[in-house]
């Protein structure tokens, strides 16, 4: 396999596999947050703030994978 082909493959795999975990994670976080608001609608402000924070943490991992794939492609 030529190095060019390996680079393309690496770029695609890096972001493709790297987005699996965070996708599932964000889904779980959102689901639990919706459940919590459903059980206690008065706590919506606090639950929403914590949810956004947790989603940012989970998304950061997907962004690390994206940065690796961009570095492989463009550097």
């Amino acid at each position: 396999m030529s190095s060019e082909a390996a680079k393309f493959l690496a770029t695609a795999l890096a972001i493709g596999l790297g987005a699996l975990g965070p996708g599932i994670g964000i889904g779980i976080i959102g689901g639990k947050a919706a459940e919590a608001i459903g059980r206690n609608p008065e706590a919506q402000g606090a639950v929403q703030t914590n949810m956004i924070l947790a989603i940012a943490f989970a998304e950061a991992v997907a962004i690390y994978a994206l940065v690796v794939s961009l570095i492989i492609k463009f550097v």
Binding site: T49, I52, L53, A56, E59, L66, V67, L70, F74, V75
Partner: protein
């Protein structure tokens, strides 16, 4: 195929120091921010407040309430720093979406480039946040009290937890900088590629997504540093 480079391209040199296009853009945003501050402070002294003053007051109050839920009674002390982080990162992110940023070229490299799409800028913001958190931790808990969180030799388990805490402190710099850089740079690349593939109209939803992402990333950076500061200041 449009030229996309992770490094910001230098435009000119000031006394041997190369000024890149993203540094140049950050100068412009800084001047805009300064101008906004000067206009606000002039108009806020008048009895009958103008619409700009009312709007900025509303904005600042909302952000203050956001930080109050995290920092409780210390918000008064730290709000200038975190409000500045939030507004500066937000202005930089949104400025990178204006028409002309990234598309006006001077020998095949853009004249302007959103500042947070440059790893240098985000690493410097992350280092500022890191130093802020450590210095305030030492200021509130005392040097020895703060170091006890990391070097706890009462227990072998606590010793390992201390080492993990130290590593996690340094990894915060990496995570802060790469989160912001990755989001903004990937957004730029996305819009460039989409505009290259279908030059008409299709970039519109992606621009709206980037406006939203810019807001969220500014929010997350400042709120996360507030949360870490709270953890570093609090006892036990």
């Amino acid at each position: 195929m449009p030229e996309i480079s992770i490094k910001a391209e230098p435009l000119f040199k000031i006394a041997g120091f190369p000024v890149t296009n993203s540094l140049f853009t950050s100068f412009i945003v800084f001047l805009l921010f300064l101008l906004l501050g000067i206009i606000y402070s002039k108009q806020a002294k008048v009895k009958k407040k103008s619409k700009l003053v009312l709007f900025v007051n509303f904005l600042l109050k909302t952000i203050y309430q956001l930080f109050e839920s995290i920092l409780k009674e210390k918000t008064v002390i730290f709000f200038p720093v975190f409000g500045a982080f939030f507004l500066y990162i937000l202005l930089n992110n949104w400025f990178g979406l204006l028409p002309g940023i990234g598309s006006l070229l001077i020998n095949r490299s853009p004249i302007f480039r959103g500042n947070n799409a440059d790893l240098n800028a985000t690493i410097s913001l992350a280092i500022i946040a890191f130093i802020l958190i450590q210095a305030n931790g030492i200021r509130y808990l005392g040097g020895k009290g703060y170091l006890k969180k990391f070097f706890n030799i009462s227990n072998p388990i606590n010793f390992f937890v201390g080492i993990l805490e130290t590593i996690s402190e340094f990894s915060k710099i990496i995570s802060f900088s790469f989160r912001l850089f990755g989001n903004i740079f990937a957004g730029e690349v996305l819009i460039t590629i989409i505009a290259f593939l279908i030059p008409v109209l299709v970039t519109f939803p992606f621009l709206i997504l980037e406006v939203f992402v810019g807001l969220i990333q500014a929010l997350v950076f400042s709120m996360l540093s507030a949360v870490f500061l709270n953890v570093a200041i609090s006892h036990h």
